[in-house]
């Protein structure tokens, strides 16, 4: 009984670590650019496809390919921010929301057109392997995804806290006018932040590929998780998103032990609504 419970919690932590990295980009973008990117799940989908085709064409492992995937999605995100989002930064809220919604629509239908609606998966030698630790067992691809996610979170932290560019991005978020006076070009920081945020989602897509199918509408399945995680952690808070990712992973894992799977997402939504109702700023919000 206790073993089952602990097993569920450990599984939750493994998936939660991935949730954290999937969502952290959304929070980063909101915190700096002040736009909720409703197309964020589609960047995850894009990352999965890039990793998939890399793996099919060159046989490179999706997790190993994640830095490359990050770069591709990073560039695409930079283009989207520079040529689309940048132009509605001062527009009404609805224009911002619906621009990103339309971007999501274009990305999904573009993927459907290019790749069809088939479910695809990239073969890896460890896809069905498991790790045994005492009475517990973990799926190896999930464990590797967790490790890769942890490395990404660590790199993000080092970048934001220990490099000049990262500090410039944070400065822009804290006080735009002061940042401009210090010689920082805020628009360049917005493009950079948006590209990093979407690139992280893309890299996370590469990391989950060994245990997940990829198809053009997979973003819809992840959208809920992403938004719950960032709201629970506090929209705009990077450490909040990392903590909330783990919490949501554990909640979901525990729910699937005690409730029918169809209701798994219901509990996540209820957590989401309760957070909004009682703590809209999130656990670690500004």
């Amino acid at each position: 009984m206790i073993t089952n419970l602990l097993q569920a919690i450990f599984n939750g932590i493994l998936t939660g670590g991935v949730y954290a990295v999937v969502s952290v980009g959304l929070s980063l973008v909101f915190g700096i650019v002040d736009v909720v990117n409703f197309a964020q799940p589609e960047f995850l989908m894009m990352g999965m496809f890039v990793a998939y085709f890399l793996s099919i064409a060159t046989g490179i492992d999706p997790i190993m390919a994640s830095p490359l995937v990050f770069l591709v999605v990073f560039l695409f995100g930079a283009v989207v921010q520079r040529f689309l989002i940048q132009r509605v930064l001062n527009a009404p809220l609805v224009a911002q929301i619906f621009l990103t919604v339309a971007v999501a629509m274009v990305m999904v239908s573009g993927a459907q057109l290019l790749f069809g609606a088939d479910f695809r998966s990239a073969p890896t030698f460890y896809a069905t392997k498991a790790l045994h630790v005492g009475p517990f067992q973990f799926s190896l691809p999930q464990f590797l995804a967790f490790c890769a996610s942890s490395i990404m979170a660590l790199l993000l932290w080092i970048f934001m806290e220990r490099t000049d560019v990262g500090r410039c991005i944070k400065a822009t978020a804290q006080n735009r006018t002061a940042a401009i006076l210090m010689g920082i070009n805020p628009y360049r920081m917005y493009v950079l932040a948006f590209a990093i945020g979407t690139g992280l989602a893309g890299a996370a897509g590469a990391v989950i590929l060994p245990y997940s199918y990829v198809f053009p509408t997979i973003g819809h399945d992840w959208g809920l998780i992403m938004f719950t995680v960032v709201v629970l952690g506090g929209l705009g808070s990077v450490p909040g998103a990392l903590l909330a990712g783990l919490i949501v992973g554990v909640i979901q894992s525990l729910t699937s032990v005690y409730m029918p799977t169809q209701l798994q997402n219901l509990v996540v939504f209820i957590v989401f609504i309760l957070t909004l109702a009682y703590r809209p700023a999130g656990l670690l919000g500004r």
Partner: protein, 341 residues
């Protein structure tokens, strides 16, 4: 500003009415009913956009979960018809009431939220309802969906053999929606909503009970949306949770119609719908099979272009165009009157 736009606005209104009246006979004699179907859908989405506009446009509370009210409306009347044989007309009233009550429930946790947070919160509610309606198969048939029992061509049962009856019903329901929206806009509530749409705090300072104002706007908006849900169920004879509670199918579309037309205007949703729905139908008729995604690609691409080009909606562009034309004409008549750019 209002005085500048009004005459032009009335011109647009007149043209819209004229166009409708002119097109009507054409629609009656049209055989396959294809254009009639599109016209009916245009009216329905104009109505949905108009209902959404009351809270989303006037008060600038961007709801992305209005499918919650729509779906509940569709299921209320259909379940009442199925289990106790209640006429869908009465079912429509019940749908409005239930949707209104639901909006009260949703108000409690979401009304404290602003901007993006409100949008996210409303999405969550629509999704919760979708999951619940999928899960309780005993009542709702779950993902299989619910067929509206066919009771023969009878007005009392809200079932017509041709498409024309639905067109007229949609026109009537749209008139009601526009009437309610108009009354809200010119009335006390409209001013309160516009005040709070800029700043809740400033509105509170001048004595607006923002919670109350939003509550009324939300109740009216959700009741109308629920009534349209009943219309949809009766028109299509089939509903399922993934469609009627869908984010893309309804939540986004009804808001999009209002935004593209002109946020917070009475006629904007009709303009937006008259543009968006035929486009949607046309692209999905042209691109089928493997190319089906092309229609959504064009749709999304055009939306991006429109939002970048006219972030305030098509109606503003129309009125701006009319205004420029009027000014040009008056400057031709008496050139010295032209001042400024």
């Amino acid at each position: 500003m209002n005085r500048v736009i009004n005459p032009v606005l009335f011109k647009v209104v007149r043209w819209a009415f004229l166009a409708t009246v002119l097109l009507l006979p054409l629609l009656i004699f049209e055989n396959r009913g294809y254009y009639l179907r599109i016209a009916t859908l245009v009216l329905m989405f104009a109505g949905l956009g108009g209902a959404w506009n009351i809270i989303g446009g006037f008060a600038n509370q961007v709801s992305l979960g209005h499918a919650a009210f729509f779906g509940v409306g569709a299921y209320t009347s259909t379940l009442l018809l199925k289990y106790i044989g209640l006429s869908p007309w009465l079912g429509m009233v019940a749908a409005g009431v239930i949707a209104g009550l639901l909006s009260l429930m949703i108000a409690v946790p979401t009304f404290r939220l602003r901007g993006h947070y409100f949008a996210l919160g409303t999405i969550a509610f629509a999704e919760v309802l979708r999951i619940l309606f999928l899960y309780f198969k005993g009542i709702t048939e779950g993902p299989v969906g619910l067929s509206v029992p066919y009771l023969g061509d009878s007005v009392w049962n809200f079932q017509f053999s041709g498409g024309f009856g639905y067109y007229v019903t949609a026109l009537a329901l749209l008139s009601l929606t526009c009437f309610v929206a108009y009354r809200v806009k010119v009335g006390r509530l409209g001013y309160q909503l516009r005040a709070l749409s800029n700043s809740h705090e400033a509105a509170e300072v001048v004595g607006v009970d923002t919670y109350r104002a939003k509550l009324w706007a939300s109740i009216l908006s959700s009741m109308l949306t629920g009534a349209w849900g009943t219309f949809y169920a009766q028109y299509l004879y089939f509903i399922d949770p993934d469609t009627v509670f869908g984010f893309w199918t309804f939540s986004v579309k009804m808001a999009m119609v209002a935004i593209l037309g002109g946020l917070g205007t009475i006629w904007g949703p009709l303009v937006g719908s008259a543009f968006l729905i035929p486009l949607d139908e046309w692209t999905s008729a042209v691109f089928t099979g493997n190319l089906a995604a092309v229609s959504r690609l064009i749709y999304g691409g055009l939306l991006i272009a429109l939002i970048l080009w006219q972030p305030r909606g098509l109606l503003f562009w129309f009125t701006g165009l009319g205004e420029r034309w009027r000014r040009k004409r008056s400057s031709l008549e008496n050139p010295e009157a032209e001042t400024g750019p």
